[in-house]
Amino acid sequence: MSGAPVLSVRDLRKDYDIRGLGRRRTLKAVDGVSFDVYPGETVSIVGESGSGKSTIARCVTRLTDATSGAVTLAGTPVLDLSARALPAIYRDLQMVFQDPNSSLDPLMRVRDLLDEPLRLHTKLDKAARAAKIADLLRAVDLPEDMGARLPHQLSGGQRQRIGIARALAVDPRVIVLDEPTASLDVSIRGQIIRLLKRLQAEQGIAYVLISHDLAVVRRISDRVLVMYLGKTVEEGSAEEIFGAPAHPYTRALLSAAPKIAFGESRTRLKLEGEIPSPVDLPPGCRLAGRCPLARPECRRADPPLLPIGGTHRAACPVTVHETQRA
């Protein structure tokens, strides 16, 4: 992790206005999130559904317009680009979508799906593009004759490989992986993760992985952001987060995940109640209503991210002090 970050996100916010009967209310889907991604590393954003992790992915890639904040991709201010200048950033920033069944145009053959980004983003001639398509198919371990197939003639895993190959086509610096394994069989998941790791090692691409699957996150991440209701509640290296989770929410999330490995002690931390409505949140820590460790002051002010050591930070004064003392 040396040099300048390839992707840098600062104080990203996305509000949705909820119009209904009565007053207008605001849903803060993403409420001031910052992180850096360095070349060749994987930063994972984890959280339950509704935590805002997918909204971050959509705002960073400009598929949705953010309310405020800054996203810098290799020096380019992504959020300030005009609609006209926008397509150029997708040479450096690509995405692998959650559902390979709906992210591939059902009427296009595999080779046309892979040709499209090459045609629009590069100046390669037809022969060079055909050679590149063959390389891409090889890179994702698919035989070359797959090029003639239509998406519905492929299996789910093969489709996701095509989705990955399409993202790779323009040799991007950053790929956002939006739940890339969520719609795949468990047996296929491992293959896709191995493929993603291998491609990263070979080509030095940085990944932003959006996932709720902690097993996947643990296998692939260098650094992890834990999101709860639009805020980062904890961040740190994968070892720090998985080895010594500090925030009660992270602990609950980890203890809720099934574990097979021996020798790991697990003290189960259970949260009470349901995830609250993200509309018009009360002041104070967002977890306070569900947290077994909550104190009266937790309901007064929203705690900032507090340093624990190394890159590890958590937004919980109660546990951070206890961790530091230990």
Binding site: T61, L63, A83, P87, Y90, R91, Q94, M95, F97, Q98, D99, N101, S102, S103, L104, D105, P106, L107, E116, P117, L120, H121, L150, H152, Q153, G156, G163, R166, A167, A169
Partner: protein, 279 residues
Amino acid sequence: MRAAVATRRPTRVWSLRLGVLLLLALVGTGLFAMVWTPYPPGAMGVGGVYQPPSIAHPFGTDRLGADILSRTMDAATTDVGITVAVVALSLVVGSIWGSFAGFFGGWFDYVTMRLLELLNSFPSLLLAMLVISIAGPGVLKVIFVVAVLPLPDYVRLIRIEIRSKKTWQFADAARMVGRRPLGVLFAHLLPNSLRPVLSYASVNASWVAATIGALGFLGLGIEPGSAEWGSMISRGQDAVLSGKWWVSFFPGLGIFLLAAAFHLIGDGLADARTKGGRA
């Protein structure tokens, strides 16, 4: 995954095939009539007056002794041609208009929908008669008027498909591969939204064929005197009452077959699950 389900042979493929075959026969007749008909279609007195069908005149002759087979063939050029032109016009205009309304939404969509409601609130045949009786007959006028009437249906069908598909991930993916909004719309969303409108178009075509005939019958079609099935039926009206059925029957058969051909195609298309299974 729908695609993985074994494709059961669609039961109504025969209706698609029969419809296409029938349409090809009619188009063929229309084209062939431009080159050759047994007698000159406009020529009077090539046979006796009101001859019943015979070897020399398989469809008989009319009040002026003209050969009905020749006239029916000649009329096929006009009727099939106009029907195809009308459907093509509403399909193209409706698809583009509906695409924009569904894709961009906002005020354009709003104005579109109110305009279509206005147009839909008139009974269509009545409106066509009104416009043509004011504007006067003519091939282009007929094409234009009959194409405008079903336009609301085309616009709506495309609009709703585009609206539902523009949030699909392949629309997002299209932006990531470098497409601008119009590229996303025309390269990806529109081709994937055409199936319902195409199957509607063939059903609509049978309505168009019948309407062109009806306008001709009422004397509101193309110029009076030119060979057109509707006006031929109208001219046989009196003859039918005195038992000379063949004068109106054969042009009527033409309208029926043309409408039936499109209807069968539409039925077949709506039912046929092509290999893709979706789109």
